[in-house]
């Protein structure tokens, strides 16, 4: 192992960095995979998960009107016209059930009695595997009822109150009817509920989930691409480049160090592209946090490069290395939170996540970009990521000596 970081050693390392850069530049397929795929996957992930806050979900609702009263018809028409829900007419209750079961609708609604009647006029049909669909459907129907059919709500309330008050006088009934008629003509758009909503002041437009997935995709691809780059060590052995170098004075030291530096650079460029997309598309304040973003990115890239080189060095053949790297990339990504948000995981899996670079990277980026945290919140992640990267590099250097034999 050559750890003589004199000018000669740096010159050799620079020569290997150049080899890696030219090699990638001339392999257009690999170039696209390395630099276009990460922002694309980030956009897909963030588009999917940005919607899970609930406001953007447009529920697909199959609706059957079996009551066939004037008010049930009005409700059906209001649901179909509502932008809050994608309502589709179904001829029968069974058809509603069929569509929900087949996944053609997220939930179903059967209007089985007049909406103003005292019974339970609505039946929500939902698939238990979509737990959120039933309450969401219920809320959307109530919303439409309150907005489009306030008179019906009033009449239903009157009907429910009547037994408790011992009946209404004719005058009271007449007044209620006039009020209902007026409401029907000019709806107040008051849902009559208990809640008023207040948005948090200075809330970020980017959303925590965007910062989360920017970090998650960054470390996922940094490791994936680093593994591909590190596999070059195997090619160097099989093509005789290693033999050539080991017969000279250089040995494999500059090759390993050169790859390490190149892979860090590659990781930083990938991160730049992902976070630039996050800032441009979702307004995540990356530039404003550049001072902490850069060390985080360098540490995460160094970690990915070191882990990849260490793992590939442990293997004896390219096939072995390919298999191990695929396994490690997928498992670390799954446990570390690059695929599914960590807050959705059971506690033991969240704890296990701290044994992956992914969790440290994701948390560090979230702390910086979402919670506006200072250096105190991220220095530990920097240390862990850098230390793991350097350990991997050292292992690769030690194992490169094994090739001599």
């Amino acid at each position: 192992m050559t750890l003589d970081f004199g000018r000669g050693a740096l010159w050799k390392i620079a020569a290997m960095v150049r080899v890696m850069a030219l090699d990638l530049w001339r392999d257009r397929g690999a170039l696209l995979m390395t630099f276009l795929l990460p922002p694309l996957v980030f956009l897909i992930f963030s588009s999917v998960f940005a919607g899970t806050t609930g406001d953007d979900i447009q529920l697909k609702l199959a609706v059957a009107d079996t009551a066939r009263t004037p008010d049930s018809g009005r409700l059906m028409a209001a649901l179909v016209a509502s932008p809050e829900v994608r309502a589709e007419r179904a001829p029968t209750a069974d058809e509603v059930r069929r569509r929900v079961k087949a996944g053609q609708a997220d939930a179903g609604l059967v209007i089985r009695a007049d909406p103003a009647s005292a019974d339970k006029p609505f039946l929500i049909v939902a698939d238990p595997s979509r737990a959120v669909a039933a309450p969401l459907a219920q809320a959307r129907v109530q919303q439409v009822l309150a907005n489009a059919l306030p008179d019906v709500t009033l009449r239903r309330t009157v009907t429910q109150l009547e037994p408790a008050l011992g009946g209404f006088t004719d005058e009271q009934i007449e007044n209620a009817d006039s009020a209902a008629a007026l409401m029907r003509q000019t709806p107040t758009h008051d849902d009559g509920g208990f809640f008023e909503r207040e948005a948090i002041k200075n809330a970020k437009t980017g959303g925590g989930v965007i910062a989360y997935y920017a970090g998650a995709v960054m470390i996922l691809f940094a490791l994936f691409s680093a593994m591909q780059g590190a596999l070059g060590l195997m090619d160097e052995q099989s093509t005789g480049v290693a033999d050539r170098l080991l017969a000279g004075t250089a040995g494999m030291g500059p090759v390993v160090s050169g790859k390490f530096l190149f892979l860090i650079g590659q990781g930083v460029v990938q991160a730049l592209l992902i976070f630039a997309t996050a800032q441009i598309v979702y307004g995540v304040a990356v530039v404003q946090h550049a001072a902490l973003w850069l060390p985080t990115t360098l540490a995460a890239s160094a970690c990915a490069a070191g882990v990849a080189l260490g793992l590939v060095s442990v293997c004896r053949t390219r096939d072995q290395a390919q298999m191990l790297s695929t396994f490690v990339i997928l498992v670390l990504a799954a446990v570390g939170g690059s695929m599914v948000p960590r807050f959705l995981m059971p506690p033991w899996l969240q704890a296990a996540g701290w044994f992956t670079p992914h969790a440290w990277t994701i948390e560090a980026y979230q702390a910086i970009l979402w919670r506006d945290a200072g250096i105190g919140a991220v220095y530990k992640a920097w240390c862990v990521l850098t230390a793991v990267g350097l350990l991997g590099l050292a292992l690769a250097h030690v194992l490169a000596r094994r090739i001599r034999r």
């Binding site: 010159w11 093509t239 170098l245 017969a247 000279g248 250089a250």
Partner: protein, 318 residues
């Protein structure tokens, strides 16, 4: 049998080298000296110990016994001893997406060629290997012959005093082999000591100043190719009988009775005889009478291939 050129300053001195892998001997007391401006071909069947000897000379293994010295220094213990060594692996040990010049520049940097002299060193390597016209072509787009020469160029850019070539012409056509041979001769003429392993005995015979036969980890025969052949075969010529088709057991017995031995090809049989042409004529007549009509009968001087067969089959004493 050995007739080494007289030189006071050998580049490589291998003395009584012994090495074993897991108790299985690979080298059993090998001695070898190589001088500047000399081409030495190391021959031997697979498993004879050629690769182990090369690895010992490159400093990749420390022999169990004996010494290997490159210009007086042990390459396994003193990395600087390897500075004057260039290795051309059997595979194309280059980066395929990089051009020939870029590859040579890379290996020049790794071989400590000073930055100031880099361009001149690359130019020299390109010229010596006659690859100037392909300098800016990615290696993956080169023909087999150019790839082989580029492979050599990357190993000579730092002007080594010893060049080791492992099967330098495997898998290339005749023209490409000629071109590689010309490059190797050119390097020899510049004073480079060339050590090559090859299975191409015609190439070894035509190119090498000396050859050495390794068998079971021992150098059993060493010397100038023509001298070795003359000593082994004297005035005898090789008579080759080429049959039109494979023959049955009776036919084989008949050929054996004529003193012919089967070669690697079942339709080609051979024997050695001092009175080659006269014997060939009589042999042809007798075989025709026996119904074994030869397609062709050749008479030629024995080659290294004949010698190799004798050594490999242990018909020639060490």
């Amino acid at each position: 049998m050995t007739s080494e050129p007289v030189s006071p300053d050998p580049v490589v001195v291998v003395t009584a080298v012994v090495h074993a892998y897991g108790g299985k001997p690979a080298l059993r007391g090998v001695d070898l000296r190589l001088h500047p401006g000399e081409i030495y071909a190391l021959l031997g069947p697979n498993g004879a110990g050629k690769t182990t000897l090369i690895r010992a000379i490159c400093g990749r293994i420390r022999p169990d016994g004996g010494t290997v010295l490159l210009k007086g220094r042990d390459p396994a213990r003193v990395p600087a001893a390897r500075a004057g060594l260039g290795l051309v692996p059997q595979e194309i040990a280059l980066y395929p997406n990089l051009t020939v010049a870029e590859n040579i520049e890379t290996f020049a940097a790794l071989a400590d060629v000073p930055r100031a002299g880099l361009a001149a060193a690359v130019r020299r390597a390109l010229e010596l290997t006659r690859t100037v016209d392909r300098a800016h072509v990615p290696v993956k787009h080169l023909s087999g012959g150019y790839k082989r020469r580029a492979n050599i160029a990357a190993a000579i850019v730092h002007e080594p005093s010893l060049l080791i070539l492992d099967e330098p012409t495997v898998g290339v056509d005749l023209d490409a082999r000629e071109a590689v041979d010309t490059v190797i001769r050119g390097l020899r003429d510049l004073g480079v000591a060339v050590l090559m392993t090859t299975h191409d005995l015609d190439q070894a015979g035509a190119l090498a100043d000396r050859v050495g036969f390794l068998r079971d980890g021992q150098l059993v025969l060493e010397g100038r190719p023509k001298a070795l052949i003359a000593e082994a075969f004297g005035e005898r010529m090789e008579i080759q009988v080429h049959l039109a088709e494979e023959i049955d057991a009776a036919g084989e017995s008949r050929l054996a009775a004529e003193g012919l031995e089967r070669t690697g090809r079942p339709t080609v049989w051979t024997r050695l005889d001092a009175d080659g042409y006269a014997v060939a004529g009589r042999l042809d007549k007798r075989l025709r009478e026996a119904g074994l009509t030869p397609r062709e009968v050749r008479v030629r001087e024995p080659s290294l291939a004949n010698l190799f067969t004798l050594v490999a089959d242990r018909k020639l004493a060490a």
